[in-house]
Amino acid sequence: MDSTAARAKPLTVAIRTLRSSRWAQWGVVGGLLLAAAIFPLTYSGYWIRLLSGMFMYAALASSLNIMVGYTGYADFGNVVFFGVGAYTTAILMLKVGAPLPLAVLAGGALAALYAMLLGLPILRLRGHYFAIATIGVQEATRELVVNATSLTGGGAGLTLPIPDLTPQQFYRLIYYLMLGAMVLVVTVSGLIRRSRFGYGLRAIKADADAAEISGINTTWYKVAAWMTSAALSGIVGGIWAYWYSYIQPPDAFSGITGVKYFIMTLLGGAGTLVGPVVGAFVLELISETVWSRFITLHLGVLGTIIVLVVLFMPRGLVPMLREGFKPKAWWKEFQENWI
C-alpha cells in the first residue's frame, strides 16, 4: 500500500492526509471559517448574497441530516419547521415588537414543540409511511397558515419591520447570522454524533427492534432527534424571514426548498458530519451558475446533474471521496449496481 501511496496523485494524497490527521482537519476547517469571517470586508453584493444562501442551505441540510442521516427517517416535510420558525419570528417581531434574536429563538422553540406534538403519533410509523406523513403535515400546515388570515396575513403574506441599516450593513448582518447558524447546526450535529444519544440514533437506524431490546427508549430518542432537527431548522427559518423581509406561505413552506436540501444532504453523504455542508455548497454553486447562464434550461440542467450524480456517486460525495479519488473503482461499482 505504501509504495502506491508514494506514486499516488496529489488529490488522493490530500484526501488521505485529511482522513488520517485530526490536525489537518481542524486546520482546514479553521482556515475556511477565518476566510468566511473576513470575506465580507473585501467583497460585497452578489457574492455575499450567494454565500448567505449557501450557509443557509448548509445549515438546513445539516439539521435534516440528524433525522435522515443519523436516525434513518426520511423526513421529506422538514421544511414545515423552517416555515414555522419563519412565521413565528415574523409574527413576534410585527405584533409584539420582539427583538430579532428573541424572535428567532422563539421560532426554534415553537418548531421543536410542533415536532414533539407531531412526533408522538407520527414517529410510530416506519420507513416510507413516515416520509409521506411528513409531506402531509407540511401541506396541511401550509393550508392552515393560509387560512389563519388574522394571525398570518393569509395568502397576502407578512412584511417584516425594515431594519434601520444601510443595505451593505444589512447584508453583512445576514451573512454573519447565516454563517453563525451553519456553525451552530454543524456543531450540534457533531456533538450528537459523538454522544451516547447519537449512537442510540444510529442503532435505531440499523435496527429499531434491536435498539429497543438493548435498552434504548426508541420513541423518546426519535422524538428528541426530531425536535433538535426542528429547532435548528426553525432558527434558520427565522433568520430567513428577516432576510427576505416579506414572507408568504408558498415561500415559507416551499416543497421545492425542502426537496432541494434533502438532495443536498444525500449528495454530500447522509450520516456524515460534513457531507450535507459539502452537498449544499456544490449544489447551490451549480444551481447558481446554471441559473445565470441558461435561464430557460435551469430546471433541465439541474435535473440532469441530479441524475448523473446519483448514477455515479450513489453513496454521496464525502463517503466516496474519503476512499480517495478512484474513478475506476466507482465505474466498477456503477456496473455492479446495474440490474
Partner: protein, 290 residues
C-alpha cells in the same frame, strides 16, 4: 350533505384511482417512489392535446396511442437509468426520479411554453341530469375508463405470464431471478406500465383540467395518498384509495370550505397511516419485505 357532493367525490375518486395505480404498482414492485409519475401524466395530457388539436382525435380515443408512447418512454428510462441505481435503495431512486421530473417539466416548458391549454370536444359542458343531480359526460367517462384501466391492470397481473413474473419479482426478487425471471426487464416493463397508466390518467384529465408543464406536480401528492390508502401494488386498493380520497376532499370541502381541501385529505392520510400503516386493504408483503 347534498347527493351532488357524493357524486362529485366518486367521479373525482375514479380519476385519482387512475393517477395512483401506476405509482402504487411501481412502488410496490420495485420500492421506487416515482416522482417522474407527474411528468408522465403531464406528457400524456400533451400527447392527447396535440392529437386532438392536429388530427381531431377524441381525447378518450387517444388513450391507446398515449399509453403506448408512455410505455416506451418509461421502459427506456427504467432500463437505462433507474435500473442502475435501483439496488442502492429508496432514497437514491427517489432523487433520480425527481431529477428526471425536472428534466421533463423543463423540456415541456421549452417545447410548448407555459401557455394554458385545454382539450374541448363538442360534448364538453354537456351532461346527464337525473333529478337534481348533474353528471358531466366527460367526468363520467373519465372516471369509468379510469376504473376500467385499473381493473384491466389487475387482470393483467393475475392472468398473464408477464404479470405473474411482475408479482413474483415484487415478492422476492432473488427467488424470481433463480427461477429465470429477467428482473432487469421485468422492472423496465413494470415502470413502463406505470408510465402508461400515468399517461392515460393525463389524457383522461386533458378534457377536464388545464394543461400546463406543471400540471403533474399536485398529482404526485395525490398518487402518494392513494397508494398509501389502498395499500401498495394492488389495483383494487388504488380504486378504494382514490374513492376515499375523492370523497374526503369533496365532502370535507363542502363542510369546512374548499380552502381546506388539501389539509383535509392529508389529515385523513395521516390518520389512516397511524391506524393502519399497511393501507385500508393492503397486505404487508408488498414492498414491506426487503
Amino acid at each position: 350533505m347534498s347527493p351532488q357532493v357524493i357524486v362529485n367525490g366518486l367521479l373525482l375518486g375514479g380519476l385519482y384511482a387512475a393517477v395512483g395505480v401506476g405509482f402504487s404498482l411501481v412502488w410496490g414492485v420495485m420500492n421506487v417512489i416515482n416522482i417522474t409519475h407527474g411528468s408522465f401524466l403531464m406528457l400524456g395530457a400533451y400527447v392527447s392535446y396535440w392529437l386532438f388539436r392536429l388530427y381531431h382525435v377524441d381525447p378518450f380515443l387517444s388513450l391507446p396511442a398515449v399509453m403506448l408512447l408512455m410505455f416506451g418512454l418509461g421502459y427506456l428510462l427504467q432500463r437505462y437509468i433507474v435500473n442502475a441505481v435501483v439496488k442502492t435503495g429508496v432514497f437514491m431512486t427517489l432523487i433520480i426520479t425527481y431529477g428526471m421530473n425536472l428534466f421533463f417539466v423543463n423540456l415541456a416548458l421549452l417545447l410548448w411554453k407555459g401557455d394554458y391549454r385545454s382539450v374541448t370536444p363538442e360534448y364538453a359542458g354537456t351532461g346527464l341530469q337525473i333529478g337534481g343531480l348533474i353528471i358531466p359526460y366527460i367526468r363520467l367517462v373519465a372516471a369509468v375508463l379510469a376504473v376500467v384501466l385499473t381493473l384491466l391492470l389487475q387482470l393483467f397481473l393475475s392472468r398473464t405470464r408477464v404479470g405473474n413474473a411482475i408479482l413474483a419479482t415484487a415478492l422476492n426478487k432473488n427467488a424470481a431471478q433463480l427461477v429465470g425471471i429477467p428482473i432487469g426487464r421485468i422492472y423496465a416493463i413494470t415502470y413502463g406500465i406505470g408510465a402508461a397508466l400515468a399517461g392515460a390518467a393525463g389524457a383522461l384529465m386533458s378534457a377536464i383540467y388545464v394543461i400546463t408543464p406543471f400540471m403533474g406536480e399536485p398529482f404526485i401528492g395525490k398518487a402518494f395518498v392513494v397508494a398509501c390508502l389502498g395499500g401498495l401494488g394492488t389495483a383494487t386498493g388504488a380504486i378504494l384509495g382514490g374513492v376515499v380520497l375523492g370523497l374526503a376532499e369533496t365532502i370535507g370541502g363542502a363542510i369546512v370550505g374548499p380552502s381546506y381541501q388539501e389539509a383535509i385529505s392529508f389529515i385523513v392520510l395521516v390518520l389512516i397511516l397511524i391506524v393502519r400503516p399497511e393501507g385500508i386493504i393492503g397486505r404487508r408483503f408488498f414492498a414491506e419485505v426487503k
